[in-house]
């Protein structure tokens, strides 16, 4: 699988996509942000969504990954309970 890596707002994005058409129909690409795998949804029009961004779609996996980082920044405060 070809890899693509980038850092966006200080967080790592790693994308792996199936190499050929046959594998594309069997498997789905994987997306990891900060080494944690995101459940990617492949839409029938070739766009992507995720469980965390379920009500919209993105033209490419890098766009989805950046949108996830924009939507869910790592700034959660420590919980008091």
């Amino acid at each position: 699988m070809p890899h693509s890596r980038e850092t966006y707002k200080g967080r790592s994005i790693v994308i792996e996509e199936p190499e050929d058409e046959a594998r594309l129909s069997e498997g789905k690409p994987s997306l990891a942000i900060d080494d944690q795998r995101v459940n990617v949804i492949q839409n029938p029009d070739g766009t992507y969504s995720s469980e965390g961004l379920y009500y919209t779609k993105y033209a490419s996996l890098p766009e989805l990954a950046r949108a996830i980082i924009d939507s869910y920044p790592c700034e959660d405060e420590p919980l008091s309970s």
């Binding site: 029938p44 961004l53 009500y55 919209t56 959660d76």
Partner: protein, 393 residues
């Protein structure tokens, strides 16, 4: 039959009873079952024809559970096309609470604020958002809520759905309302505008989910009333669970044995035991069924000059339109289905210019003078009563 009301028309007592029932359902653990079922359903409940029936059944079960706690409670709906501001009363701290704080979207007021101690999110979507607290970020992912015009456009769209019966369907009421056409729009856009916990598949974590989907269900009910001949589509050809007589999935654990609901079973919401307080049950949404006639701009019809009436001119038991214009009497005969034939001038008289009839001096009426079931014209002029008998055969 239960009546679901617009949330703006709820009394303070009705609001507090609804909130108390939701909190009690959360405390019992049942509320979180709804979050989990919605999450696990995924595409079985979205991006296809079953989007509307699946959520109708989901809301019905939720409402029944609330009513098992307080029988006076019914689901309210949020008309986001009208109550479209962060300051709308739905977001008051005594009802659903307001927007989240700027730093992380954490809701800080109202009954569902994490810090109030009653609302911890137990089903989330790690690693994207593992937060256990309710978040809202108004306008961050979508700048504005859908407009009334966009709602009207969806309501006027037929048929119910079109091939390929998924999120790529280029037309059809379902995909228009779900919001994938030129999206995100309508239903999807509302999730994004609220933001925070309404954005992931676990969106029922925010109780506003149920008020939002109650309005979506109301719009479907309105559409069904507007187009009674437009049935659910398809009966076959869609993904499993989305065809008319498929069992919708996953109505499995924790809700077995209720895994036997099909779209066909929920098409008639009255049969499910509820109605909506306004449009859709007593009247359909307004549509223009006679264009370029009898209008302020289409014909220069004025209240102070041109009285317009509804009366049966043909004896078929259906009201026709009669207007007293400048040059005489105009009619548009009813087709009997809410539509009318074209406007037609039928009499030179009783008009503002034809006879100098004035609204403030010369009242005109339509009444059956001969007992044939057809309305005749009676006008009170300067010197006496003028009559024009109906000669329609």
């Amino acid at each position: 039959m239960l009546t679901r009301k617009n949330q703006v028309s709820l009394s303070a007592d009705e609001k507090s009873r609804f909130i108390a029932a939701v909190l009690a359902l959360k405390a019992s653990g049942k509320y979180d079952q709804y979050v989990r079922v919605h999450r696990d359903a995924g595409h079985a409940a979205h991006r296809g024809p079953a989007f509307l029936p699946w959520h109708r059944e989901f809301l019905r079960r939720f409402e029944l559970d609330l009513r098992s706690i307080d029988p006076s409670v019914t689901l309210p709906y949020w008309d986001w096309s009208v109550d479209n501001s962060p300051s709308s009363s739905i977001w008051n701290s005594s009802f659903l609470g307001g927007n989240g704080r700027t730093s992380d979207g954490k809701v800080m007021d109202g009954p569902f604020a994490f810090d109030a101690g009653n609302w911890r999110l137990n089903h989330v979507v790690p690693p994207e958002d593992p937060s256990p607290f309710l978040k809202r970020q108004f306008g961050r992912s979508a700048a504005s809520l859908p407009t009334p015009a966009s709602v009207t456009a969806a309501l006027n769209e037929t048929p119910y759905d079109v091939a390929p019966w998924d999120m790529t369907s280029s037309s059809g009421f379902r995909n228009r309302l779900e919001g994938w056409i030129s999206g995100p729009q309508l239903h999807n856009r509302v999730h994004l505008w609220v933001g925070g916990s309404m954005v992931p598949i676990t969106s029922p974590n925010d109780p506003v989910f149920f008020l939002h989907h109650c309005f979506v269900d109301k719009l479907w009910a309105e559409w069904q009333a507007m187009f009674p001949d437009e049935g659910y589509l398809p009966s076959s050809g869609a993904h499993a669970g989305h065809n008319l007589n498929d069992f919708m999935q996953p109505w499995s654990n924790p809700w077995q044995p209720w895994n036997d609901v099909r779209p066909a079973d929920v098409l008639d919401h009255h049969a499910l035991g509820y109605r909506y307080d306004v449009v859709g049950d007593l009247f359909t949404a307004p549509r223009m069924l006679l264009e370029d006639a009898f209008g302020y701009e289409t014909g220069d019809w004025r209240v102070e000059r041109h009285p317009r009436f509804l009366a049966d001119l043909t004896g078929d038991g259906r009201a026709d339109i009669v207007g007293f214009g400048n040059r005489g009497v105009y009619v548009a005969l009813s087709n009997g289905d809410g539509t009318f034939q074209s406007l037609e001038g039928v009499l030179d008289g009783f008009g503002y210019e034809a006879g100098t009839w004035r609204v403030e001096r010369h009242p005109r009426f339509l009444a059956d003078l001969t007992g044939d079931g057809r309305a005749d014209i009676v006008g009170f002029g300067n010197a006496g009563v003028h009559v024009s008998l109906n000669t329609t055969q």
